[in-house]
Amino acid sequence: MKFGVVIFPGSNCDQDCIHVLRNVLGCPVKELWHKERDLQGCECIVLPGGFSYGDYLRTGAIARFSPIMESVASHAAAGRPVIGICNGFQILCEAGILPGALIRNQSLRFICKPVHLSVENSRTIFTRFEKKTLAIPIAHGEGNYFIHADGLKRLKENVQIVFRYCDKNGKAAADANPNGSLENIAGIINERGNVLGMMPHPERCSELALGGEDGLNIFKSIIQDGAR
């Protein structure tokens, strides 16, 4: 599967995603500059983590106006896969491609540490794997997921909640919630199921040398889906 990794000014996990997709998984990867509109035939678009536009104004608020985002929106509307990681998730919410918003962590501090995620929906193109609890690190200051009551109801009805923060036994307990996210939500998909946004960084745990490979499950699931 051919991946396209979008680079905004201030993106800083772009090269990390490219490294994993290209060098660990052996996939062709294109770098997509934010000022362009051509997705160069990429089948899956990755919006990487970082601080697009320095997170100035509001996370993702400026990046969503980049020319490339129109193409990303059409790609998503056509039902093709898009994954937004950390800042990418924030941008997808700002662009209205995913519902809800990411506000400051409850502690008002940036948090970088390994956490556990429970896989709440194994039927998405991003989560077709056996493992039900993943160890994946977070690194964000604004990862506190919020959505109004109606929106939350719809997320649940459509099984759009994909990942929840949990303890190592898979229980989504309150003290396993690192940032105050509503109902421990760590990742969601759109109604159609082709756009995933998640705060944790799967690219940071896709090699044993870095301490774990749980992140690979997600990328491999996308690749397998593309092969079908």
């Binding site: 000014p9 996990c13 948090i111 540490k113 690194a139």
Partner: protein, 731 residues
């Protein structure tokens, strides 16, 4: 515009002494303009000219077979083979952070990052050794919080992981914290770019942030003691813009990798003045620049203000006429303000124009190299003779060594720094193989088998007790830390933090510490590749502990040599390498638990240290070592407790102490040259035999196992209790 008349008062207000002014007149052959006076004042400030430290800095060993670039450039560069080099440097941002902690620390990160990418290296790691006052004092708490979030917000945004640090708390840092920041970059050897303008006719190109009034006289500000008035000098503290920092980082690396620039320097301390003078001075050329071309964000800036502004995230490059269109394409790609200010000339003068007039015309090389050099008076401080000296025969033993160990683990200096490093992105770039929490950080060099180990260390109290031995100990400890991770120490960078050098007592500390650092660097074969001197670290007349911070770079040739501190397997033997303890001098046992600075500074035998480090590296390379941990603050007790807490399987140990020494001395002594290792028990006798042969004192002190730390006949502490104490402190 009316020309300002230069009076003795104005000269004095610029921190230029009578003799210095005479020298200035000699160089100029006439009275300076106010802009020229401003230029001299920053170029000859302590911060830029090293006028009080140069003589001593020349005593450092700076050459080595791997050193590509030593002191004198923006950063040092060391060859690690495979066409790869590591560029690294440490700097201080103490004074700005004392006054405005958040911006002071943030701009410290911005500045040290620029020093690295300016050389052509991509920054791959930050380390931040910090020294704070008593954390229970509200003002200190405010400083600590501000500094940590300033570092976090800048480093996290730019996407350079903060992988290690070294944090101490002591009353001597009240009101004058030490904010040292180290950056490490990775580069191809052929990308090395120097700040040296050689080709006449080439263009002087400015890019990055526009210039404002912020930071005017920041460099002179950093060369004064802090007083009440300092707080009113907030305008001398700059404001950081990490997003612009990230953009100029990427643009600069593109400029260098595409061979667009001839030379490049960032506008750090003393801004446009320092960058243009130094580039011309180093190249033996001159520059002719027009300030009307400088992008400006305040109205009606004077020439004086433009030349002295320390607005952040600004760069100055030398570009040939032919390559200008290539440079323009990169600036436009990154939406960077840029402008051609002028060109490189042959007359050796730095000529500055503003509104159609020449406002400064100064010999560039002279101003950057002929700065005054002093030889301040030095006198052995009296306090050295009145420090209480430890006496094993009648010392204040704890009622319960177990409780004392728990109390030590809970003291802010020794306690876990998780509350700090979890605020830093320490994983971005996917190189952090050994994460914060142990001693040295280990990063992989992608595309090779190699790894680098990084550590920053200095025990300021030891330097206070004995400046020479303490200086050497800082180097030895930093080296020992990287050795414990399986790396051979290669080279250091240093940040020398001291009080007011015009006080003979302080100068003595400086001079002796520099000698000690130099001796250790020679003995351990780790040349000095650069660094920074920060004087005037005093608050209301009281100097900080003399703190020559050492940033150590080590190289690991093969991934299987990477070694960590945590216990690995039940049944492993615990072995102590190094002499039995004899003193509690300089210990946290006395400082943290008894509120006393206890002498003496323990003796350091550099030959023994070298033998110890070589021996451990040899054992690691033979695959015989399971874990290694340096004994430092908190002594053997804290070291073993940390090995247990860092064990992934939650393994404790059962330890037997030497019988003829009081257990508190054996457990809490901070004597140097001691390392705790573990190995499969069947290797133990061989390691012991080989250590003896290598002249390294050695003793098997116990076995890994269980889920508590049992020190026979002394205490038995379950791991949860250790952890609870260790994780008890945060702000």
């Amino acid at each position: 515009m009316k020309e300002v008349k230069i009076t003795p008062e104005i000269v004095q207000a610029h921190g230029i002494s009578g003799d210095e002014y005479k020298k200035l007149l000699e160089i100029m052959g006439r009275e300076p303009t106010i802009t020229e006076l401003g230029i001299f004042s920053v170029m000859w400030s302590e911060h830029c000219s090293y006028k009080n430290s140069k003589k001593m800095l020349k005593t450092f060993p700076t050459k080595g077979e791997r050193v590509i670039q030593g002191p004198g450039e923006n950063a040092g560069v060391v060859d690690i083979g495979d066409g790869c080099a590591i560029c690294f440097k440490i700097e201080s941002h103490n004074h700005p952070s004392a006054v405005e902690p958040y911006q002071g620390a943030a701009t410290g990160i911005g500045g040290i990052l620029r020093d690295i990418f300016t050389m052509g290296a991509r920054p791959i790691a930050l380390l931040d050794p910090l020294r704070f006052g008593d954390p229970s004092v509200p003002r200190n708490k405010y400083i600590i919080g501000g500094v940590i979030s300033g570092i976090a917000d800048y480093g996290n945004c730019v996407g350079v992981p903060t992988v290690a640090g070294d944090v101490y708390f002591a009353e001597h840092y009240n009101g004058n914290p030490l904010i040292n920041v180290m950056c490490v970059g990775q580069m191809r050897v052929e990308d090395l770019t120097l700040a040296c303008a050689r080709t006449p006719g080439s263009l002087v190109v400015y890019y990055g942030n526009a210039t404002g009034r912020d930071g005017i006289h920041g460099a002179t500000f950093a060369s004064e003691e802090l007083s009440k008035e300092s707080e009113e000098r907030r305008s001398a503290v700059q404001v950081g813009d990490p997003f612009m920092g990230k953009k100029i980082l990427e643009a600069t690396l593109e400029l260098i990798q595409n061979r667009v620039v001839e030379a490049i320097q960032d506008m750090g301390a003393a801004g446009l003045t320092c960058s243009s003078c130094e580039m011309a001075g180093r190249g033996g050329s001159g520059v002719d620049i027009d300030l009307d071309k400088v992008p400006q964000r305040s109205k009606n800036l004077t020439a004086y203000e433009i030349m002295l502004s320390e607005s952040q995230e600004r760069m100055l490059a030398i570009v040939s006429e032919e390559r200008l269109s290539a440079a323009r394409a990169i600036f436009e790609k990154w939406d960077l303000p840029w402008s051609v200010l002028g060109n490189v000339t042959t007359d050796g003068l730095m000529r500055v124009r503003h509104k159609g007039r020449v406002v400064a015309e100064i010999p560039a090389e002279e101003i950057s190299t002929a700065a005054p050099e002093y030889n301040p008076a030095s006198r052995r401080p009296e306090y050295l003779d009145s420090i209480e000296v430890f006496d094993a025969a009648k010392f204040e033993a704890p009622d319960d060594c177990g409780e004392a160990l728990l109390a030590l683990l809970a003291t802010p200096t020794i306690a876990s720094k998780r509350w700090i490093y979890e605020q830093y992105d320490h994983m971005v770039q996917l190189n952090t193989i050994v994460k914060p929490g142990g001693s040295a950080a280990v990063l992989r060099i992608k595309g090779t088998e190699k790894h680098i180990a990084l550590s920053a260390d200095c025990n300021g109290m030891m330097v206070y007790l004995n400046p020479r031995a303490g200086g050497a100990m800082a180097v030895a400890e930093a080296a020992r830390n990287v050795v414990c991770s399986g790396a051979r120490p290669l080279a250091i960078t240093n940040c020398l933090n001291f009080g007011n050098p015009t006080k003979p007592d302080i100068y003595y500390q400086f001079e002796q510490a520099v000698l000690g650092v130099g001796e250790a660097c020679r003995a351990l074969n780790t040349p000095v590749t650069g660094g920074n001197v920060s004087f005037y670290n005093e608050n209301r007349g009281v100097a900080v502990f003399p703190t020559p911070m050492i940033g150590m770079l080590g190289l690991i040739e093969k991934p299987e040599h990477i070694t960590t501190a945590g216990f690995k397997m039940a049944g492993d033997a615990v072995i102590l390498l190094g002499r039995p303890a004899t003193t509690l001098g300089g210990s946290q046992y006395y400082y943290a638990l008894r509120n006393k600075i206890m002498g003496p500074c323990p003796a350091l035998d550099l030959a023994a240290e070298k033998a110890l480090q070589d021996f451990l590296l040899d054992m690691i390379s033979q695959g015989m070592v399971a874990s290694a941990q340096d004994v430092s603050e908190g002594g053997l007790g804290a070291a073993i407790a940390e090995c247990a807490m860092l064990s992934e399987d939650g393994l404790g140990a059962r330890i037997n102490l030497e019988k003829n020494i009081h257990p508190a001395i054996e457990l809490f002594s901070e004597e140097p040259s001691r390392i705790v290792i573990t190995c499969r028990d069947y290797f133990a006798s061989e390691i012991i035999q080989r250590a003896k042969k290598a002249g390294v004192p050695v003793r098997k002190i116990g076995l890994v196992g269980g889920c508590s730390l049992e020190i026979e006949g002394v205490c038995n502490l379950p791991l949860e209790r250790l952890r609870k104490a260790y994780e008890s402190f945060s702000i």
